[in-house]
């Protein structure tokens, strides 16, 4: 089945990013297609390459980037990102900034949309 995921909260502060990641990994393992992952609200902080967690902690941005490398469309909302100082230059690879139209297309084209947030 074609699934889409939205993430509304920043990394580390809230479990949303981890729950979403674990859900997506399980969905892929079951052979489902991930139509897209959309970061909104403070969720846009998930994919900045400026984060530098301690070595024994998970690297949340790299985790998303690795998923993006497998071909999953990972989109950061441009309006939410600009408001918070997230621009192309600070993004990890395999992630793109685009508009809310992308969220709309995911909501229309995906058979299910699951939202992770606060």
């Amino acid at each position: 089945m074609k699934l889409a995921v939205c993430i509304y909260e920043g990394p580390y502060n809230h479990e949303a990013s981890d729950s979403a990641y674990n859900f997506i990994k399980a969905a892929i393992a079951k052979g489902h297609e991930i139509r897209g992952i959309f970061f909104y609200h403070d969720g846009v902080y998930n994919v900045t390459r400026l984060m530098e967690p301690p070595q024994d902690d998970r690297h949340i941005a790299n985790r998303w980037s690795e998923l993006g490398a497998t071909g999953i469309d990972i989109v950061v909302c441009i309006a939410a990102a600009k408001r918070r100082g997230i621009v192309d230059e600070v993004l990890v690879p395999n992630v793109r900034i685009s508009g809310l139209g992308q969220l709309t297309m995911m909501a229309i084209e995906a058979e299910r949309m699951v939202i992770f947030g606060d």
Binding site: M1, L3, Y8, E15, A16, S19, N22, F23, K25, A26, A27, A29, K30, H32, R112, M113, V114, I115, F116, G117, D118
Partner: protein, 98 residues
């Protein structure tokens, strides 16, 4: 319908509100801090117990229970994992009660 709840019922009315919109055959997944709603013997246990009584299926995410040292759950609550979460999403329309 699948309803996902990620707030403790002691902090937030999401679980209580959600149950008002559920029918027989609906599923509720307690995840993140929502798993505190699955614990027996609390002042909020009746919420889940009455939902089960109305033939609503209640699931709790095992990873979130374990992380919080929660070993016991209300009779009838089904423990699931992320793979089970995916199955619930595939089988149902979803509303995330953020």
């Amino acid at each position: 319908m699948l309803h996902t709840i990620n707030k403790s019922p002691f902090q937030n009315s999401a679980l209580e509100s959600c149950l008002r919109f559920t029918h027989e055959g609906d599923c509720v997944l307690l995840m993140e801090d929502g798993v505190y709603g699955a614990i027996p013997g609390t002042a909020k246990s009746d919420l889940v117990a009455s939902a089960l009584g109305r033939k609503i299926q209640v699931f709790a995410l095992g990873a979130d229970l374990k992380a919080r040292a929660l070993k016991e759950t209300i009779d009838g609550v089904q423990i699931t994992d992320y793979a089970g979460f995916v199955d619930l999403v595939v089988e149902n329309k979803v509303h995330s009660w953020l």
